[in-house]
């Protein structure tokens, strides 16, 4: 039996215009298939993360704080209510890093699958966007689960609290896109993860008004919060989940800051991916 009895040839069956229009979705589809292989791990992390943090710090430390503030809590609400939106945004950002940094290093360096994608009609832009979309899907999954855990803990106290899911996704997407661009630049990743985790992620987590209002910090450390997507997302999250007071100017600032970062990260990723593949 000949293997190619009905061979029609690529000139008949391949439509380059279709790939040009929908290529990013084909990459997303492939990344999703790979991600589904460890869906149980992702689900486990997505549930365990909020439960552990909200119980240990939210309830544990929270009981101590609430008692010492004469039942006033922080920012006019119980400590766990104050803390939860910050943890939601943190989880979104961590998920985005997982789904943007690792696949990018893998695609360019470890198993070089970006190069195999690029030998099809797919371009660097499609590949960058596919990785980005996949990361947004993962972040959305994480944020939705986190939000339901928050609901179970009774820390959502506003009719528009559900919108906090989207501000967390926005922060995750923005941070993920930036990290994706950065990972695309790396020729050598030896110390990258150590530096990223210890000198970027950890300080952001600690100094973005996560555990106490940013204004409690000395003024010379507050800038960390200002450049941190986490702080901007946390402020928006607090506004949405329990009515934390924000001026409309700051509301716009947070929103514009996160979206500018997102846009910058996506454009940079596309350029960096295209340039590196074309070398």
């Amino acid at each position: 039996m000949s293997s190619f009895q009905e061979r029609q040839g690529s000139l008949k069956i391949v439509d380059a215009a279709k790939v040009a229009a929908r290529g990013a979705l084909f990459v997303t589809e492939a990344r999703l298939r790979a991600m589904l292989k460890w869906i149980w791990l992702i689900l486990g992390i997505a549930i365990a993360n909020p439960v552990l943090y909200l119980v240990s710090i939210g309830l544990g430390v929270g009981a101590y704080i609430d008692e010492n503030t004469g039942g006033m809590g922080v920012d006019g609400v119980s400590y766990i209510t104050f803390l939860a939106p910050a943890l939601l945004a943190t989880a979104a950002i961590q998920g985005a890093i997982d789904e943007s940094v690792y696949p990018t290093l893998e695609g360019f360096k470890w198993d070089k699958i970006f190069f195999s994608m690029n030998s099809t009609p797919l371009s660097g832009n499609h590949i960058a966007m596919g990785v980005f979309f996949n990361s947004v899907i993962r972040v959305s999954f994480t944020a939705v689960i986190y939000w339901f855990v928050m609901l179970a803990f009774g820390v959502l106290d506003s009719p528009r609290a559900w919108l906090a899911i989207f501000t967390a996704i926005m922060a995750g997407a923005a941070f993920g896109a930036l990290m994706q661009a950065l990972a695309g630049l790396l020729e050598n990743e030896d110390i990258f993860f150590t530096v990223l985790q210890r000198f970027v992620i950890m300080p952001l987590f600690l100094f973005s008004g996560t555990f106490y209002p940013l204004t409690n910090m000395p003024i010379y450390l507050q800038w960390i919060g200002w450049i941190s997507p986490l702080w901007h997302a946390t402020e928006l999250g607090r506004w949405l989940t329990y009515g934390h007071e924000i001026s409309s100017l700051m509301l716009y600032t947070h929103f514009i800051f996160l979206n500018s970062l997102l846009l910058f990260g996506v454009i940079a990723s596309r350029r960096i991916f295209t340039r590196r593949l074309g070398k």
Binding site: S2, S3, F4, R7, Q8, G9, S10, L11, I13, V14, D15, A16, K18, V19, A20, R22, G23, F26, V27, E29, A30, R33, A34, K37, D111, K112, I113, F115, S116, M117, N118, S119, T120, P121, L122, S123, L277, G278, K279
Partner: protein
């Protein structure tokens, strides 16, 4: 009408000061099996990546399927099947998933790809491995899967970069058999290799490359005829005596090549030459008469062997 699917004139690629490909001319016609033969570092892979419309040329002209890859990269790649030197399969996915997603990258419908997978699994003799993870496959299986993957879109041109490097002899022969069948089906093949037997087996026509340039072009038989004699007598006198014997042996034939471990004597009739060697009372430790190969052509052109 013979139409060049691949047409290059003065094709050049520089990386900084280093010239990887130095002004090569190529014409590959439809249905042909064309080879780039040369040692590692000759510029074959760089040439392949330019023809594969992923790496942009520094200068020269290049058209693939009548299109310039600088402007029409994706439109050209839509009709190429690329088998890179290193298998870059998606290691998270199974054998059939690798074929599936690759078909999707060409925008092929799910239904088409699903049918195609069966055909390709049979072609690559991987039916029983369809649900195996790529990591668990042997080198030969991965190679066959990478080739099968490149065929999912029924490409006009199949480009293979060192298709059998790292494979054992049996796996090589299975692969060669598969490539023959593709050629019979009218697929144009572009192959790089540093194995002369592979080039002789698979290529209708080839260019010999060294240090980024083309040294010679023709069919394997024509190249051997042009650059070598019909037969070769290989003699070994032991490493100390080889060098001392060279001058004496030179008198007996058209041309000799001294290699570290043996001396090659070029002649139309190897057995007759060996008799004359013995008559002169030169007694090699071992001797072997064989037909000339592309290895000899390369040695003649560059003074070096293909595989160090």
């Amino acid at each position: 009408m013979t139409q060049s699917l691949i047409h290059a004139r003065g094709l050049t690629k520089k990386f900084g000061d280093f010239t990887a490909v130095n002004g090569i001319d190529l014409d590959v016609v439809k249905g042909e099996s064309f080879g780039l033969l040369g040692p590692n570092g000759a510029g074959k892979s760089t040439a392949m990546r330019m023809i594969g419309a992923t790496s942009q040329r520094t200068s020269g002209d290049l058209t693939i399927l009548d299109k310039d890859p600088e402007q029409f990269g994706p439109q050209i790649r839509a009709h190429l099947g690329v088998v890179p030197q290193q298998d870059n399969l998606d290691t998270h996915l199974t054998v059939s998933e690798n074929l599936y997603i690759y078909g999707r990258y060409f925008g092929l419908s799910r239904k088409f790809v699903k049918n195609k997978i069966e055909e390709l699994l049979a072609f690559a003799q991987l039916e029983e491995k369809r649900n195996a993870k790529v990591e668990s496959l042997s080198g030969g299986m991965k190679r066959r899967l990478t080739i099968a993957r490149a065929l999912v879109s029924e490409p006009e041109i199949l480009m293979l970069d060192e298709p059998t490097t790292g494979l054992d002899p049996q796996a090589r022969h299975i692969l060669w058999d598969r490539l023959f069948r593709l050629k019979e089906d009218g697929v144009t093949l572009l192959i790089t290799t540093h194995f002369m037997d592979e080039a002789e087996q698979l290529c209708d026509r080839l260019v010999v490359m060294d240090k980024g340039s083309i040294m010679a072009e023709g069919s394997p038989a024509q190249l051997i005829k042009d650059y070598s004699t019909k037969e070769v007598l290989e003699v070994r006198f032991g490493s100390e005596r080889n060098a001392g014997m060279a001058d004496d042996l030179r008198q007996l034939c058209d041309r000799i090549e001294e290699l570290p471990d043996r001396i090659l004597m070029y002649t139309e009739d190897g057995e007759e030459l060996l008799e004359r060697v013995y008559k002169k009372n030169f007694h090699p430790k071992t001797s072997l008469v064989r037909r000339s190969s592309l290895e000899d052509v390369f040695l003649r052109l560059t003074g070096r062997t293909l595989v160090d």
